[in-house]
Each structure stands twice: as structure tokens, then as C-alpha cells.
Symmetry: C2
Subunit: 254 residues, 2 copies
């Protein structure tokens, strides 16, 4: 009989005493990865000592030792009689991202052009409504732009602002005018933080048409929600980059 996925998972539930590394380190590694990967999200509990002892057939001392490293790594806090709670998914000892930048794969010196695909008022829905923290149907200004260089389209960006935050946005032509200058000089917004989600996806027919690539091509997608000094989400932007033209460059430090 072929080995199924479930068999394999069941097998992995036991640690391997023959390995060079200690059992506590094996258990620590499993829990570490599950916390970092979000299997055990921040705020939730990891299994109890007794549960881990049974699941991995190890002693309480082994479980405790692996927990200690998780505590030292700043990932969990232990509360007497109340189990261990995940408090961070970013280990204190891991390299931290200290900078990132979208870069051209093959930089050139051609002056780039921005083209407005559409600029209109739309009803909030889905991710844009959720990220901007507004109810569905709320009026949003939506701007779609393409950036080209030497006639080659590079990326498609879609920007959402609530209409009452940017009431005159439709009066501006953001093919020439800088959105950054509009934010700084007209809306007087100063960004304090943002969250960003980077993923790969297949280009749908419309995106492929606008970017001049085949439908289904891999594109690099960067979704960003930016917050102002009052901690209000003011801008939600999705940028779809041709993967043959752009990558995200990051530097990490201890």
C-alpha cells in the first residue's frame, strides 16, 4: 500500500532519538517553526506540557527545556497553571528586515511615463473596504495607473482613498502630477507606518492585457495599507509588477 500523507505526518510526530541533536532541540525546532509560520498565532496558546509529552513521547524535563528556549527567543510567555501563550512570531535571535526596496531587474535610463488607466469614485468592497476600515458601499476614490518605459509597461498600481479624505482627488491628473506631492502638500498627510503583503499570483486577463504579458504569467503583487499619525488607514494600494522586470530587494540584520 502506498504511504499516504497522513502516515507521513503520523510518523513525524515522534522525535528521533538517534539524531545528533538533542530531543529538546528537535521539539523546540518544531514549535519554533509553527509559531513563526503562524500555525500558532500570536495571542493563542501552544499545546500544554502534558499534551506535548504525550504527542512526542518525551519527558516533562525535555518539554520544559524546549519551552525555555522559546521564552528566551521572546516567542512565548509561560503563566503558572495557564499554559504558554504566543506573544510574538518574530524570534529575537532571527535576522530582522531593516530595509526593502522594489528594484528593476534590468535598470535603464529611459524617462518613465505614468498613464492613468482609470480614476473614479467606486463603492468600497472586499479587501479595500476591510483594509481602510470602512463599511461596504462607502465612497472611495480609486486610481489605476500604469508605469511604462520605452513603451514597455512595467507595473499596474491601484490606489484607494476614502472620498471624504481626498474630496478633490478627481480634479487632479496623476499621470503627470506626483501622488506623493499631493499627499504631502495638499492633503498634508504624514505616513507613520504601513503593513505590506508580498505575494506571487497569476495575471488575470485584464492585468495581462494592461501589462502586455500572457494571461497566467507570474506577477509580483505588493499590497500596502498606510497609516497616518492618527493611526488611521488612509491609503490602500495594490501594485502588480511584471516579474521579468522587478523584484523586492531586502536587507536583514541581527
Amino acid at each position: 500500500m502506498a504511504q499516504t500523507g497522513d502516515d507521513r505526518d503520523a510518523k513525524a510526530r515522534s522525535l528521533d532519538a538517534s539524531l545528533h541533536e538533542q530531543l529538546y532541540y528537535q521539539l523546540y525546532s518544531i514549535l519554533f517553526e509553527d509559531i513563526v509560520n503562524g500555525t500558532y498565532p500570536v495571542g493563542e496558546q501552544i499545546p500544554s506540557e502534558t499534551e506535548l509529552m504525550e504527542r512526542y513521547s518525551v519527558s516533562r524535563a525535555t518539554v520544559r527545556r524546549s519551552m525555555e528556549i522559546l521564552v528566551n527567543n521572546g516567542l512565548i510567555v509561560r503563566r503558572r497553571g495557564r499554559g504558554s501563550q504566543v506573544v510574538s512570531s518574530k524570534p529575537a535571535t532571527a535576522l530582522k528586515s531593516v530595509g526593502s526596496c522594489i528594484k528593476r531587474t534590468h535598470p535603464d535610463r529611459v524617462v518613465p511615463v505614468k498613464r492613468v488607466v482609470s480614476a473614479q469614485i467606486v463603492g468600497a468592497e472586499g479587501t479595500a473596504a476591510r483594509e481602510l476600515g470602512v463599511e461596504e458601499g462607502r465612497e472611495l476614490y480609486r486610481l489605476e495607473r500604469i508605469r511604462c518605459s520605452a513603451g514597455v509597461p512595467y507595473y499596474l498600481e491601484t490606489i484607494y482613498l476614502t472620498r471624504d479624505f481626498a474630496p478633490n482627488a478627481l480634479d487632479h491628473d496623476f499621470s503627470g502630477e506626483s501622488l506623493r506631492a499631493y499627499y504631502a502638500n495638499i492633503l498634508h498627510v504624514r505616513w507613520t507606518h504601513a503593513r505590506q503583503r508580498v505575494s506571487a499570483r497569476a495575471a488575470d486577463a485584464r492585468c495581462a492585457g494592461l501589462l502586455g504579458i500572457a494571461e497566467g504569467s507570474a506577477i509580483l503583487s505588493v499590497d500596502r495599507t498606510s497609516f497616518d499619525h492618527d493611526d488611521i488607514a488612509r491609503e490602500y494600494m495594490t501594485s502588480l509588477y511584471r516579474s521579468d522586470q522587478f523584484y523586492l530587494d531586502m536587507s536583514l540584520e541581527a
Copy 2:
């Protein structure tokens, strides 16, 4: 006659005096984006004042004013009689990446399994040789692993180490043993920094087969080169994530 890409670029070379925003800000925006996107890389010069005056039909005062903002943003330094040199591609006023983490799109609590696809000594070539700073043909230890959960493969990682750095790597079974523990406890390496390149690509036949997805599917690719306390590149790793299972989560701050 249809407008060609070159016509459009030629048109874009002139600034638009009718826009709300000042000419110096338009010019600043163009140069800003070109520096951030790597069109003008760190260490190189941007065009001279005279060149910019001619190219954009603006006064020397306008050029100087846009340069001043670039200087304030920490992107260029101006040297009397020697032009303006790019010194950073990361503007001081931009939001900075302060954390990043690969996250599961749909976290579950199944104990994950690592499976070794291959572990062998290979001759260095291409990106691995370049990133590890060794000549082509140098002996490298190469490990390919797949991570699965409930029988579903999630990502494929390929790790390269120089053989003389990790002479006994082949004696270890990294399907059970933790690579992190091996680095820390056996090789005694401490990572100080890393550079990382995140991109989208289409899965080739082999990768698609191993990850159980259709050939050509969009995958999220993370290439990382990690440096030890002697600033020597010790590990080059490429991780290919199924895009339906993983994304990169980033937080940015002012």
C-alpha cells in the same frame, strides 16, 4: 500613425507647467523614482545641472531646488564642480521595513514534515557560486528539502554551503535534524546579516512536480545569502513557496 513608445517617452521628457505642483517638484519626483528604482545606482552620478536644464527645459534654479530635496532625503551628495553622486537608494523620509515574515495563507495545526529530496556534493555554478563568492567548480554541499503538511507539499528549499565550511554535512539527515541547530551547535556559526531577493516566477516542470502544482503556476521565490561574523557569505538558500499557501508579511515604519 500610431503613437509609439518612443514618442510617448519623448513627450514625457518635458515637465507640465499647467500642473498644480511646481516644476521643481515634478523634476524631483522623476529623479527620486529613478534613484529608488536603481536606474541611477548608488555610487554613480545623476545627470549634470546643465543636462537636466536642457532635457526638461527648466531654469538652473528649478534644477537646484529639486536637487536640494534629494540631498535632504539623503539620496545624493553634491560636489562642487564634480556633479551629484547617488549615495543611497533609500530615502530618509520613506517608510522603512522593520520586520518581515513568511506567513501561511491558511494556517493549520498539522505537524509539518520535512522530506529530503537530495543531498549531495556539486560543483559551484551560476548564482550559487556568485553569491557564495567562490569560483565555478568549487565543491558545494547542496541540500534540497520539501516541507509538507497533511500530505500537501508547501515549499521547496535548496541550500548551498561550501564543502570546506560544512565538511560533515552529508553525515546528517536533515529530514529530521534541524539545520538551524546544526549551524548553531556544530558549525558554531552566528549570522550577522543577509541579503534577500523576493520575486515571482513560473514553476518549472521539476519544481511543479515536487510541489504538486501545474507547471507554470506562479510561485513566490525567496533567495537569501547569509553572512557570518567575519562578513563571509556562508549560506545561499533559495526557497520556492506555493503562492496559494504563503505570502511575505512586512511591517514598515517611519
